[in-house]
Assembly symmetry: C2
Homo-oligomer: 171 residues x 2
């Protein structure tokens, strides 16, 4: 049995195949929190990927790219899109080319800098994005539905404090 | 100014270039929590990648792969490693080949199934991993240092409830 769990330190309980199972009891609480955090993020992202594929024949990087453009009706440069993308695994140029060929995104040369294309959603792209965004919100609401309103607010506040600390750090 | 923020709904405050800035006030609380969650996860992962590169000339997928092997001294099949990897962007075969060539990982054909290699850490690989794991834990402890012990425990409990709901869902 190749995948047997060896070592007394690990032998306490059957463990799920996710990042949290890496956290042995002797690890610091912060590390256990982070591995649980990562496990949750991976599940939510995995489900979102699957739903986008199934319901919209689309991908998370496509959705992410359109979400960035939706916030900037006057357009974004390719470099700005790359910087703002929240999910990895996407080739921004390739995705943009594909969205342009589908009529969901337009790309225009900026007058001042011919290398800097202004990329924006077309009206069709905006409609398509909004439909996906509504569904995406429903999926997220369902996935976080295990928490009460008070717990969700508490999580929101804890994450605010965590993020504040993270963005204030220089390392 | 190409990246101008248009629309009264967005005009409230300057916004950071991260996933959370997508969350307008009319979005459901769960969605705002998720975008903040994702922003934190991205910062922690980004810093971890940078530190692994800087201090160990290594990568997150390499660290992740070695972490999976560390849990299974008797070895894992390639397919099991792929399933257990928590970070994306890694080519499991390529990373394994590289670790083998560095003497950190060994690969043996399993007697019963010649296609199923048993991959495991070598003693040198185990030592290298443990050194990285100690540093990794320090980084995580520092990044979560903005929360008090009580808040960290509270976050741990909320994530347990979230994860329990996520893994009980069939969707």
């Amino acid at each position: 049995m190749i995948a047997r769990i060896d070592g007394a330190r690990r032998a306490r309980a059957p463990q799920a195949a996710d990042s949290e199972s890496r956290a042995a009891d002797d690890h610091h609480l912060a590390l256990r929190v982070w591995l649980r955090f990562l496990a949750c993020a991976n599940i939510v992202q995995g489900r979102t990927r699957a739903s986008l594929r199934q319901d919209f024949d689309s991908t998370l990087p496509r959705f992410d790219l359109m979400a960035q453009l939706e916030r900037f009706p006057s357009g974004l440069k390719m470099s700005e899109i790359s910087k703002r993308m929240m999910v990895t695994g996407g080739n921004v140029t390739g995705i943009t080319d594909q969205l342009v060929s589908e009529g969901l995104v337009s790309r225009q040369t900026a007058p001042r800098d011919r290398r800097a294309y202004a990329v924006r959603l077309t009206p069709a792209g905006r409609r398509a994005f909004r439909e996906m965004a509504r569904a995406h919100e429903r999926w997220i609401v369902a996935m976080f539905g295990g928490l009460t309103k008070a717990e969700t607010s508490q999580l929101h506040a804890l994450l605010a404090k965590l993020k504040q600390h993270l963005t204030s750090q220089t390392n």
